[in-house]
Symmetry: C2
Subunit: 194 residues, 2 copies
C-alpha cells in the first residue's frame, strides 16, 4: 500500500542485501536501490550493544548526505548478532563460520537491526530486537549448512530463511523479518508518520 | 540434508498447501504430493482446542491408510487459529474475512499446527503453538489486504508471509514456519528419530 504522505517522494534504499530489497518490495513500496558504500565500521568503546546497530545505520546514512534533496528519502539499515556481550560479525572463512554457529548452538542470542530514515528536513532512527533460540546442533549439521549455503555474507553466519533456520531454530520472540535484516512492521509505522 | 534412517522410504505429503510443500522442499526432503482428500472436519465436543489440530491431522492421515506400505511414510498437517476460546476457520467470503481480521486486530492469538506421521508400523503426532501479536489495524488496511491478497484459503484469514504479516504483526513467540503451516524444525526432529 503506497503511503499518502510519501506520494511525491522517491525512496532510496542503500543496501547490498537481497533480503532487504525483497522485504521492502513485499511491503509494496516503490524504491530505488543505491549502491551501498563501504563504511569503516569502527564502533566507539563507550557505546552499548543495543545502540551499535543504530550507530552503524546512521554512519551509513551520513555518507549519502550529498545526494539527499527535497524529493527523496534515504533508508539505511544494519543488522548485528549479539551473543551475551559479544557482537558476531560476518564470518571471514569456514572456520570462523563454524565457530560462530558452534557458539550459538543450544543458546539464545539477540538479533538487532538499526534503521535510519533520512530526508533533507529530518533524520529518524530506531531499532528492533528479536530473541532467537537455537537448539543443540551437531557438528555434522553445522558443516552441512556451511558447505551448502556459504553464509559468509551474513552476520552470525546464518540466514533464518535457509535450511538451518527451518531445522535448527526452536523459537523466536520478536519479528521474524527483523532477523532477515529489516524490521518492516516498524519501518512501515515510522514511514507512515514521517 | 537427507536423513539416513529414511533413506529407503518414500515420503508422501498429503496437503493442498503450497506453503507446506515449499517448506518441506526447503528442508531438503524428496517427497511426493498426494492429493488431499476432503475430510468432514467434525470436531468432537469434548476436545480441548490445543488438541483439535492433532485430531484433524490424524483424521486426515487415517483416510490414507490403504496406500501405506513398507516403503513409504505419510505426513499430514492441520493448522488452526485460536482467538481466546474461539477457533477461526477459513473465511467464507469478504465479510467473514473482514470480521476475522477485525477480531484479531490489537490482540494476541495462537496458531496451532498438528502433524501426523504414519508408517505401516507406527503413527506419531505432535503439535506446535506460536503466539502471534497483531497491532491495531485500520479498516482501510484490512480492506486493502483482503482485496489484494484474497486470503480465503487461509485459517484466520491471513498469511504471515504476505503484506499483512510484514506490516501489521508486532511480534511472534514460537516458530514462524509453524504459522505458515508446518513446524518444520519439530518435524525434522521427529523424522530423525522415526
Amino acid at each position: 500500500m503506497p503511503l499518502k504522505n510519501l506520494k511525491n517522494k522517491e525512496i532510496l534504499l542503500a543496501s547490498k542485501s537481497p533480503r532487504r530489497k525483497q522485504l521492502l518490495k513485499d511491503v509494496g513500496f516503490d524504491f530505488e536501490i543505491i549502491n551501498s558504500k563501504e563504511v569503516d565500521e569502527i564502533i566507539p568503546n563507550n557505546i552499548y550493544n543495543e545502540d551499535v546497530a543504530i550507530y552503524l545505520a546512521e554512519l551509513k546514512a551520513n555518507t549519502y548526505k550529498d545526494i539527499i534533496n527535497k524529493k527523496n528519502i534515504l533508508i539505511t539499515a544494519d543488522t548485528i548478532v549479539c551473543l551475551g556481550n559479544k557482537i558476531l560479525g560476518k564470518p571471514k572463512n569456514y572456520k570462523d563460520a563454524f565457530n560462530m554457529l558452534k557458539s550459538l548452538s543450544g543458546k539464545m542470542h539477540k538479533v538487532i537491526t538499526g534503521v535510519t530514515i533520512m530526508s533533507i528536513k529530518k533524520t529518524k532512527s530506531f531499532s528492533s530486537t528479536t530473541y532467537v533460540f537455537f537448539k543443540e546442533m551437531s557438528d555434522f549439521e553445522i558443516d552441512f549448512y556451511i558447505n551448502n549455503y556459504k553464509p559468509f555474507d551474513k552476520a552470525g553466519a546464518y540466514g533464518i530463511q535457509e535450511w538451518i533456520g527451518l531445522t535448527c531454530i526452536k523459537k523466536i520472540e520478536g519479528s521474524y523479518f527483523n532477523v532477515m535484516g529489516l524490521p518492516v512492521e516498524k519501518l512501515y509505522e515510522v514511514l507512515k508518520e514521517f
